[in-house]
Symmetry: C2
Subunit: 134 residues, 2 copies
Amino acid sequence: MSYLRIGDLSKRTQVNNETLRFYETKGLLEEPSRSDAGYRLYNESVVTRVNFIVRAKKLGFSLKEIMELLSLRVDRQDSTCGDVKAVAEKKLEDIEEKIFELNRMKTALDRITLACCGGEESAVHCTILNALEV
Amino acid sequence: MSYLRIGDLSKRTQVNNETLRFYETKGLLEEPSRSDAGYRLYNESVVTRVNFIVRAKKLGFSLKEIMELLSLRVDRQDSTCGDVKAVAEKKLEDIEEKIFELNRMKTALDRITLACCGGEESAVHCTILNALEV
DNA sequence: CTTGACCCTGTAGTAAACTTTAAGGTTTAG
DNA sequence: CTAAACCTTAAAGTTTACTACAGGGTCAAG
């Protein structure tokens, strides 16, 4: 099990060095161990963590919210199972709302691609807003 | 059918005046008609448009992407049905990927709230990353 | 006929999330 | 052993998306 240097982690995750260091200052990534020369040495598990951050960002979560998601854990001294459950359930609500809205949008886009491209005179109604309203 | 002034639109959508004017400069909202005094006069349909912008933003779409979604329409001179279909299908892919990722995250959170809070010794594994990996 | 709640434009300021630059030290391939 | 390709920190700059401010005009109620 060899360590990854920041450049290796960057290549593996497609997130650049500066951004990785930036995430460290923001607390999204733990401070890794260092080589004698002071180089950051990451272990494999950080790849998963960085990939999670990237995916969550694409879903519209802010770095602060991602922090909250990442720090959801039952094994910390300062949080009980109940605390974790409460936070997780709040996040679940957010996620379910996002899924609901995305499905609405998906339906609208489906309508545009499938229905609106049929006739000639119906084309005037073919905007995402019109498709959403139905 | 009376017109809405910017303050009315702001109250209806919970988006403040400055932001509405900002969206106008960015092309997300069309330039509305004006009163003799130069006040913006919106019609009802703008409410839907603003609400769409707000929802799309929560889903992680940038203003530029929202522009693309809003300008998807078959009735413009410069776009054919095929163009619209191509753009809509690209957006559909984005949306389906988002839904997929959200479902993954939802499953992970469900695991945290339901499974992990059972026993005592299993608690060390109860992070979102561990829950996602399974 | 004035006071307060609106509206206007233009410009400047802010916060989040990077991204670049400067000025250096380290590692590795030839 | 040296040159390219790494790495370090600290600080400044950029982009996106607002948000506030300055300095003014409009309008309806009392």
